[in-house]
């Protein structure tokens, strides 16, 4: 998934800052990226004159995806199960002694990320650093993924 910028989406919005959706247009664009809202949540975009913008926005955002609470989106098609994300995840390392040295977590180890049936799986989103707003934002799994199967929004 190509990385979207707020400004890129903003240009398709009505730019009225009417706050009918509850946010300014820039704020709405921001929440579009984090998949907290859909373009259809903007009343203006549902009107015919914005139909092109709406189509374009939906194209850019892609189909509605299942997003974890940490903002993690996994593209199953792209994942090849290499396990880099499992190895580099700091929380995984705290939870399983096996992980840091490159081995897969043990069968009974509770971890955040794990390779299940050849694909990456977010097992325990609550433990991810991103689930806790007070801690710093970690992007290791997405940044190091060689096949771009993980994106964080």
């Amino acid at each position: 998934m190509a990385k979207l910028s707020m400004y890129q989406l903003y240009q398709y919005l009505p730019k009225t800052d009417c706050e009918k959706c509850g946010f300014s247009c820039m704020g709405f664009a921001n929440r579009l990226i984090s998949r907290d809202v859909r373009p259809e949540d903007c009343p203006f975009l549902l009107e015919p004159e914005y139909s092109e913008s709406l189509t374009e926005l939906n194209r850019l955002l892609g189909p509605e995806v299942e997003k974890e609470i940490t903002g993690l989106i996994i593209d199953q098609e792209k994942c090849n199960g290499c396990g880099i994300c499992v190895t580099v995840c700091e929380v995984n390392m705290e939870k399983s002694q096996e992980v840091g040295s490159g081995r897969g977590p043990g069968f009974s180890d509770d971890v955040v990320l794990r390779i299940d049936d050849g694909k990456i799986k977010l097992v325990d989103p609550q433990s991810c650093r991103r689930a806790n707003p007070s801690s710093h934002i970690c992007r290791a799994c997405a940044e190091l993924c060689p096949t771009k199967a993980i994106s964080l929004v």
Binding site: G83, I84, G100, G102, G104, F107, I115, D117, G118, L144
Partner: protein, 427 residues
């Protein structure tokens, strides 16, 4: 039916031999499987590599050729195979890189007894590598030490993301090691290949070379190391200079090379130059070099050949003593053979067409769990259990350390080891 958990199973897919696979089996089928990569799961589910929704067809019964292939019983198939091999003046025993060590050993004994030609798959590159060891020394390490110490990893002529997916995460770049406690932050990756690929994103330097000219880049690097002129090199000189500058600065480097260097005419020169480069680098710092095998037991067959014959080259037993050809035995000497025993390999897919056309002319015996392009061209076909999933065995990892392959599924088919054993007994 209850679930059975097999922990720490060894994955029989590529030369990584990951030993941390946890498999849950229910009703003799793999129900779920952890820590395995996409390549590995296809192996465990008997589906096609990279297209996991397509099941590979199993050969179900022993078959012999009348006019077409017809199913038969095991005994008949064995005696026909034995007749073919016995009637041959010089049979070829080929493949074997996806078999256990003991099966390889029996196959070598078959070749010895029949005065045939024994050649593992991918021999051209491997022979060059081991031959170059004689001239340029060897610098090897178990993968643990590479992971513990290496601060520069170079992938040359291979894309581990496709051929050995977990190599990056388990052995080279990302894991934390004894002296590399921050994992990938303590390491730098270089990659050299003919086309830009995923490795470009991971690498500090990605050097693109023209197909078949890897050895020129290596020569240029060596010249730079020696302080000689490099004017005649036409390629990406800036990248090469950056790479060489960095290579001399690191304390411990590791080079992995793959089938990308096995070009028809350039394999020998590529590997010789690469080994010479490593020798040169070792006079300044510490470098190790290992081949990246994409079959799971290529390393095993090499160990076997060395132990039995003191040479890793393909063996020709047709003279009184085993004569070892320097390289490319098959491509040069295929016309000499008059029958073939192929184990776990698909020559009609991997050979150049003029060579596979020749194979159509001679009787072939095939031992393979799955239908392949070769199956239909054989005189005798044996179904077999998949080593490492349905049969036990011993396999050698790419660094030459053996692991025990476990059996997680029951199978009605005999292992390739027992089929080869039955053939050997009757000869």
């Amino acid at each position: 039916m209850s679930e059975i958990l097999y922990e720490s199973v060894v994955c029989p897919s590529c030369g990584c031999l990951c030993d941390d696979i946890d498999v849950v089996v229910e009703e003799n089928r793999v129900k779920s499987i952890r820590n395995v990569c996409e390549w590995g799961i296809n192996k465990f589910l008997f589906t096609k590599k990279f297209t996991s929704n397509v099941r590979r067809g199993r050969v179900e019964k022993p078959m012999i050729r009348g006019k077409t292939l017809v199913e038969t019983n095991y005994e008949t198939a064995i005696s026909m195979a034995v007749d073919i091999l016995k009637g041959s003046k010089k049979p070829l025993i080929y493949g074997l890189t996806n078999s256990g060590y003991n099966a390889q050993k029996i196959a070598l004994n078959i070749a010895r007894r029949l005065k045939g030609l024994f050649e593992p798959r991918g021999a051209a590159l491997l022979s060059s590598y081991y031959a170059a060891m004689g001239d340029s020394n060897f610098y090897v390490a178990p993968l643990e030490e590479i992971r513990n110490n290496a601060d520069l990893i170079i992938y040359w002529g291979c894309n581990p993301i496709h051929s050995t997916p977990r190599h990056l995460a388990r052995y080279s770049v990302y894991p934390r090691g004894r002296c590399k406690e921050r994992g990938s932050q303590d390491r730098v990756v270089f990659a050299v290949d003919v086309a830009e690929n995923e490795m470009g994103k991971l690498s500090r330097q990605f050097l693109q070379v023209e197909r078949g000219t890897d050895f020129l880049a290596m020569e240029t690097m060596m010249k730079l190391l020696r302080g000689e002129s490099i004017e005649d090199y036409k390629g990406d000189i800036v990248s090469i200079e950056n790479m060489v500058k960095y290579m001399t600065k690191v304390s411990y480097g590791a080079i992995f090379f793959g089938l990308g260097l096995s070009g028809k005419d350039s394999a020998k020169r590529n590997v010789e130059n690469l080994m010479a480069l490593v020798k040169e680098l070792n006079s300044k710092t510490r470098f190790v070099i290992l081949p990246l095998y994409d079959d799971f037991n290529t390393s095993g067959v090499i160990q076997l050949l060395i132990r039995e014959l003191k040479s890793p080259m393909p063996a020709d037993f047709s003279c009184d003593q085993a004569v070892n050809h320097s390289m490319n035995t098959l491509l040069e000497n295929l016309h000499e053979v008059d029958a073939a025993l192929v184990v776990g390999e698909d020559p009609f897919w991997s050979f150049p067409s003029e060579k596979s056309d020749f194979l159509k002319e001679i009787p072939m015996v095939l031992i393979d769990p799955f239908w392949t392009r070769t199956t239909n061209k054989c005189q005798v076909v044996f179904p077999t259990a998949v080593t490492g999933i349905e049969a036990e065995g011993v396999a050698y990892r790419m660094d030459g350390l053996p692991l025990k392959l476990k059996k997680v599924l029951e199978s009605e088919y005999p292992s390739d080891e027992s089929i080869l054993g039955d053939i050997y007994q009757r000869l």
